[in-house]
């Protein structure tokens, strides 16, 4: 109780001396949730003795917070679970350029900012999941093909309000242009068997229950669901793989990080980021959520590797941010809820 009162008193009026950031500490604002980042930070502290202080929230509020705090932000690093928000943070001048040979070597060029303001740390692949009792893999081919009337009343989708779908459509706009993309997304909407779902898992459950035949999800949701219910008749399919047809590859997004413009300990934060991208940490980072490592030298978790390998879309993921607003408006126009 007394302990609590001291803590309360300390909290009510911040003890100024204690609040001064020590050099042996890195402060992180993270939209990647606690159970995924804490084990990493704990391991880092154990290895280097450097403490990592972090606070979690959604991207929108974290960006607003950094902006309002300006030069007096305690944050050294911003972590997000998509490229769009990192792009936006960089647009608003909240991040700084980082010169690091290690990051350059560990993170492939299409998964980091061309100006080196942010870097991907894990890959999130968005792919097709189908009902094995009702669909033959040979019937599946591309994201674009899901607009074909043969999928009428057979498609389930997550809501367009989720950034993963916004990023996918943004990348399609980059590849096909706005007009063609609008036709494709309109085709998806026409083929829906049920109103859009609030999350990927619900959409997959609808496929498994026979409400529809195919859906689009991030692979780790598939991994999580199958781990819990291995008997679901769900198969995974990698779309857009035909190199001859000039298919661009599977749409990938990142979870990643950038160093804040007004970081108090930029050197420490860069070291942490280099460590996160290193071979030592990449498995811990990606495997905890069944994602793919960004570092090409690191192999994914065995369960993830079992889904097979795929060719990924090599267009820089910054386009997901740059074209996001355009994608959202497009989805609004065609009535994708």
């Amino acid at each position: 109780m007394r302990n609590m009162m001291t803590k309360l008193a300390g909290g009510l009026i911040a003890v100024l001396a204690l609040n001064a950031v020590s050099a042996e500490e890195v402060v992180v604002y993270s939209a990647r949730n606690e159970q995924l980042i804490k084990p990493l930070f704990d391991a880092y502290t154990k290895e280097t003795g450097v403490k990592v202080k972090f606070v979690t929230d959604k991207e929108g509020p974290l960006l607003a917070r950094l902006k309002a705090e300006g030069a007096n932000t305690p944050a050294d690093m911003l972590m997000t679970v998509d490229a769009g928000n990192l792009w936006q943070a960089s647009e608003e001048g909240l991040l700084r350029q980082v010169k690091s040979a290690a990051l350059g070597a560990n993170v492939p060029a299409h998964l980091r900012d061309p100006d080196n303001e942010w870097f991907g740390l894990s890959i999130r692949a968005r792919t097709l999941i189908y009902n094995k009792d009702k669909v033959k893999p040979a019937d599946l081919s591309t994201y674009e093909d899901l607009a074909n009337p043969k999928w009428k009343n057979r498609l389930c989708l997550r809501t367009s309000k989720k950034v993963y779908n916004q990023s996918l459509v943004a990348m399609m706009i980059h590849e096909h242009g706005e007009g063609k993309t609008e036709d494709i997304v309109q085709g998806w909407v026409n083929n829906l068997a049920a109103p859009p779902f609030p999350d990927d898992t619900k959409a997959m459950e609808a496929v498994a229950a026979g409400q529809c035949d195919v859906t689009l999800v991030n692979t780790y949701y598939y991994g999580r669901l199958m781990e819990k219910k291995p008997n679901l008749p769900l198969g995974i399919f990698w779309p857009n793989q035909n190199a001859k047809a000039k298919d661009a590859g599977v749409h990938v997004n990142i979870s990643g990080a950038g160093i804040t413009r007004h970081a108090k300990n930029p050197a420490g934060a860069i070291k942490l980021m280099e460590w996160l991208s290193s071979e030592k940490a990449q498995n811990l980072y990606a495997d905890s959520n069944m994602e793919y490592p960004v570092n090409p030298k690191v192999k994914p978790d065995a369960a993830v590797a079992a889904w097979g390998s795929f060719r990924q879309n090599l267009i820089n993921v910054k386009q997901a941010g740059a074209l996001q607003a355009q994608a959202v408006k497009l989805m609004d126009r065609v009535g994708y809820k």
Binding site: A20, N72, D200, K202, R224
Partner: protein, 558 residues
């Protein structure tokens, strides 16, 4: 206490004159007190309104053309449906448990409050899990009877159903207080006029309880307007959806703020209009029957009453709780660790301190209105309590921006003295608690204000004749009479703060993670089953004040 028959707070409004504002704000006066409290809300609201300085014609144009028409219709139907739903559920259950005798009445009179502790988005997730195409009910029906077309739970009807069940306790709680204090006397009066029981309820008791019902309804509607979590699970787009779409998807916080400010103006007008229609009515105090006989229902009626109350209790509380417990049992082995004690402790402290602050401010604000009634005071009160209708995340930013600004000013001063650091005010509990107060003042003010209406002017005058000062009038006469109202206010604020997410996330000091923060961590990546553990903990902790409150409700009717 003897029955009185004087005019209660009839709000005989003094006409508002602009020049009177200075007199109103006289330092040390009650007008100044109200203004200072309102200022807490006015600052973040002003920040949000200032977004109009950054034109966002492009985004607003797009939303107006393609998004808003449908969303406005959706929002209208949702408000109408939930409004009717919570009123019917809340008033009928309050009347039954307060005025009638049926098997299980004692149990239901407190148990029907419990859904208050279940966050609406949790109820939504559980109900969709059970009733959607992939849920156990429809799966069983398909297996037993073959393919069939059943009504969609993920629909307008579904979202109204869930939100009505989640929010009716606001009406129930406050209306029940009204019926307990005056229902019997109202019925007796009605009977002496030759009205039957139903007519007595409809024509006397119900109109008399109107300020209380309206207070509860207003809270439920404000929460409906501010809600994002529940409608997101239904993928039912409302005005709030457009606000978050502008911010998170179109990257425009200023367009989001502009839309929020429209929402707030709407709520303000609604609230003032409601008050206006009421201020023409005068409420006669009828005192209370110390121990009243309840209406004895026929066997059939009693059975119906028990089934009805039981059904609402089961759907709104029991079924979701059981589902959450099942999920919890799956994850408890891996997720439940000693840190949970800290989360629970943090949640309890924050909710307790927050509720205390809300109660004090609500009492001061209500009391100021009593001491200095008038149209301007009504406006001040409405503005002070508008925070409840804001989408939580937008309000959190509205609070954070001025605090960060002030911090920057102070830090620049300190830096010239050689100090190094990045946080003075931000990252302190003080800011967090004040932000809670801005958000939940309405929750405290509703019960306190309607309670104050019952303290008649005669009492004040009698006390004054005997030379009692204002302060001792408050502490010796009013506070004891307001005990139940204050307790209601505290319990509502406590439970609401316990469930609150965006302000907690944005303003918590490092290390002050709460149960609601745990829910966020789990649901952020769609791990609803794992979120069951902190959700259950929130419900259990939220039960503490509710059970306490229920115990009191029976004994003291003040």
């Amino acid at each position: 206490m003897p029955a009185e028959s004087s005019v209660l707070s009839a709000n005989t409004p003094a006409k508002f004159k602009p020049a009177g504002v200075f007199a109103f704000a006289r330092p040390g006066g009650w007008g100044a007190v109200a203004l200072v409290i309102a200022l807490l809300t006015v600052i973040p609201v002003a920040v949000i309104f200032s977004a109009w300085l950054t034109p966002e014609a492009d985004i607003l144009g797009h939303l107006t053309e393609f998004v808003l028409p449908e969303l406005l219709a959706n929002t209208f139907w949702l408000l109408l449906g939930v409004g009717i739903g919570v009123t019917v559920l809340g008033v009928s259950l309050a009347w039954l448990t307060a005025m009638c005798e049926f098997p299980g009445r004692k149990f239901f009179s407190w148990a029907l409050l419990l859904p208050l502790a279940v966050p609406a988005y949790v109820l939504a997730f559980v109900m969709i899990g059970l009733l959607d195409y992939t849920g156990p009910l429809q799966t069983w029906l398909r297996e037993a009877f073959g393919p069939m077309q059943l009504p969609q739970i993920r629909s307008r009807g579904g979202v109204i159903f869930v939100m009505s069940l989640a929010l009716y306790p606001y009406v129930y709680l406050i209306a029940r207080n009204a019926f307990l204090t005056q229902g019997r006397a109202a019925l007796e009066a009605a009977q002496s006029l030759g009205l039957n029981r139903w007519q007595g309820f409809r024509r006397v008791a119900l109109p008399m309880a109107r300020p209380w019902i309206a207070a509860g309804l207003m809270l439920a509607l404000m929460e409906t307007l501010a809600d994002f979590g529940t409608v997101a699970i239904f993928n039912y787009d409302t005005f709030t959806t457009a606000i978050y779409k502008a911010w998170f998807s179109l990257f425009s916080l200023s367009a989001a703020s502009q839309l929020s400010s429209i929402l707030i103006l709407f709520v303000l007008i609604l609230a003032l209009a409601e008050q206006r229609t009421r201020s023409h009515m005068k409420y006669g105090g009828v005192g209370r029957a110390a121990s009243h006989d309840r209406i004895h229902l026929s066997r059939r009626q009693a059975l119906l009453a028990t089934s009805y109350a039981g059904l609402v209790f089961a759907i709104a509380f029991l079924i979701p709780l059981v589902q959450l417990l099942l999920w919890t049992s799956e994850v408890a082995a891996t997720d439940l660790d000693s840190r949970y004690w800290e989360f629970v402790r943090n949640s309890l402290w924050l909710s307790g301190l927050g509720a205390a602050i809300v109660c004090v401010l609500a009492l001061l604000l209500g009391y100021a209105g009593r001491q200095k009634p008038g149209q301007f005071m009504q406006l001040v009160q409405r503005v002070a309590t508008i925070g409840y209708a804001f989408p939580g995340t937008v309000l959190a930013v509205g609070v954070f921006i001025p605090v960060a600004w002030l911090d920057n000013v102070i830090i620049d001063l300190l830096k010239s003295q050689g100090w190094q650091g990045t946080e003075v005010l931000k990252g302190t509990l003080l800011v967090m608690l004040l932000a809670y107060a801005v958000r939940f003042l309405a929750v405290g003010f509703g019960p306190v204000d309607s309670g104050l209406q019952r303290v008649t002017r005669n009492i004040d005058e009698a006390a004054r004749v005997m030379g009692t000062s204002t302060l001792s009038l408050l502490s010796r006469v009013h506070l004891p009479m307001l005990r139940t109202s204050l307790f209601t206010a505290a319990a509502l604020a406590f439970v609401d703060i316990m469930k609150e997410m965006p302000i907690t996330l944005m303003t918590r000091p490092f290390g002050w993670d709460t149960l609601a923060v745990r829910v966020f961590e789990m649901t952020a990546e769609g791990e609803w089953e794992r979120a069951a553990l902190p959700s259950v903990a929130i419900i259990l902790a939220g039960l503490i004040p509710i059970i306490f409150l229920a115990g009191r409700g029976e004994n003291t009717h003040a």
